[in-house]
Symmetry: C2
Subunit: 324 residues, 2 copies
């Protein structure tokens, strides 16, 4: 017996300007495409990589997807409700994971989170969905922590759930789906600049002035309210980050020029995606997002920095089956 | 010729736990009741106080209501659109302000903001509403600054507009009406403890750990989302303040006992109102709010601290005419 499903898991934008470490949203593209299969070799986990020019760990203990998947398997072994299915599964099957397409690692677009989300989601589907999607976030976080050393959820949660997501707290984990308007589009640029997430964290201050923190949570409140009200101009003017952007923008050559070009092309506002180097900009229409993507590309081209742009709506669903 | 209107201007709760300096909401009670009249003495501003046992400044240059009103008059003198009305008004009339009821000063319930809002609103009505309500906030802020030395808007804006209000920024002033559910009720207790707003500011740290600031804006985002979604439990668990409450609660004897009593009585969550000493708690029903108010009162009674409690819905309208 073998059963295979193919999964699309979306790129995500964490922080969204002012919401450092607590906010994120999912993109319609780019994304990972991964197959997950039940095999007839009990207990075995095998990874195959079909993507040219991309190195990913093939050791299941180091691969984001399989670490997340293993965390879910470990839970199944101890969980009362899903126990029978799990025992049956574990004693009869193994798992094969095949990578078909992959968001570029180090892009700041939640590459490792997308892979982690794909793993747990795929296994959950193959088992007949014993857990709700929202319950999968905790396992996907463990895959993310294998990649980054820290179990953050601001990419993982929107990759799993889609839409705009708030990670209000970690202890206990409190993930909140935020209301947002249909007519919101995103231009993304990924300039080929290397930034390690770890380095991007090291340069952050440990202490911040209270008055800056107040400005920041005023903007966070404005962004969440703007999304809930579908108020485009409020979304745009709330996309200010007085704490993290000034520090991290220094790691991205051409950042402020690109941001200015995006605004001139009609963006509502924009900022760094995650810890960079990618940047995002919100737009009211798909056409404006295309113009903004063009402006992004032209800016980095003029600076001689190779780059890739994407134009996307907000991904409503998160990780999903695209073929079975 | 003389024309008089009587105005109700509501008490307000600033900060709302996590939203220090940016969030506030208006109460149905208590509030100020003030009459504003046009008199036949050009340029004269007269204040009368009909409230027993309450001292308020009768000098128009020092009274919150008349300072705000004067700021609006000064604007009228220079404004092109309202210029004709203003010239006519100023050369023909004076103003008389009578205080009938007053929120206790120093309560942390926006007493000075209510008075300031009443002044500019009253004058605007008497002039035939040349300005929208939202345009009045900037003048009311100047009255507030006469009382507190700082022009804050987190009490003034909800006093003028009603509902839940975000002051996203001051430069430029950006006041945002937040969506909120109908079924939300408030228990308030005002223990008779003296706290000067100035002192409550002095004890705040100038620098805060970034990780605390992140937790705070996670909660702010949760509160705004909870209000927008009408999610009572999210509102409750977002009412955490890791930065200001730990410092200011030390100024309020019995604070944590009273908060615990409110939670035990069924409150969704609660915190300090403004800079205190008043406390507020949100509740899902009016009946629960009554029980919580009782628990508040009992706690402070047991400690021998005189106190006054209120039970209120959210004031939807803000400052309003109650008789003309």
């Amino acid at each position: 017996m073998s059963k295979t499903i193919k999964i699309f898991s979306p790129a995500t934008v964490a922080n969204i300007g002012c919401g450092f470490d607590v906010l994120g949203f999912a993109l319609e593209k780019p994304g990972d495409v991964i197959s997950v299969s039940l095999t007839d070799t009990p207990g075995s986990i095998v990874i195959r990589n079909e993507i040219a020019n991309l190195n990913i760990p093939l050791d299941p203990a180091r691969n984001t997807t399989t670490v997340a998947l293993q965390a879910y398997l470990d839970f199944l072994k101890t969980d009362k409700h899903t126990g029978t299915t799990a025992s049956h599964f574990i004693s009869n099957h193994g798992i094969e994971v095949i990578f078909h397409e992959k968001i570029k690692p180090g892009s700041g677009l939640g590459s490792s989170s997308a892979s982690a989300a794909a793993g747990v989601f795929g296994l959950n589907v193959l088992l007949g969905n014993p857990l709700k999607k929202s319950d999968l976030v905790q396992f996907a976080m463990q895959g993310e922590s294998a990649a980054c050393g820290v179990a953050h959820a601001d990419n993982v949660a929107p990759a799993v759930l889609g839409g705009f997501v708030l990670v209000r707290s970690y202890m206990p984990l409190d993930v909140v789906a935020l209301p947002y308007p249909d007519n919101l589009f995103v231009a993304i640029v990924h300039p080929q600049i290397e930034i390690l997430t770890e380095d991007a964290r090291k340069i952050l201050p440990e202490l911040v002035p209270l008055k800056d923190a107040v400005r920041q949570w005023g903007n966070v409140a404005g962004l969440v309210a703007g999304l809930a009200k579908g108020d485009h101009t409020l979304i745009g003017r709330s996309l200010q980050d007085v704490i993290v952007e000034p520090v991290r923008a220094t790691l991205i050559s051409g950042y402020y020029e690109a941001k200015q070009a995006a605004m001139t092309a009609g963006a509502l506002g924009g900022n760094i995606s995650g810890s960079g180097p990618s940047m995002f900009a919100f737009c009211s229409t798909f056409e404006t997002a295309e113009a903004v993507a063009k402006a992004f590309a032209e800016t980095f081209n003029a600076l001689g920095i190779e780059n890739q742009v994407y134009v996307s709506g907000i991904n409503k669903e998160g990780v999903r089956v695209i073929a079975d």
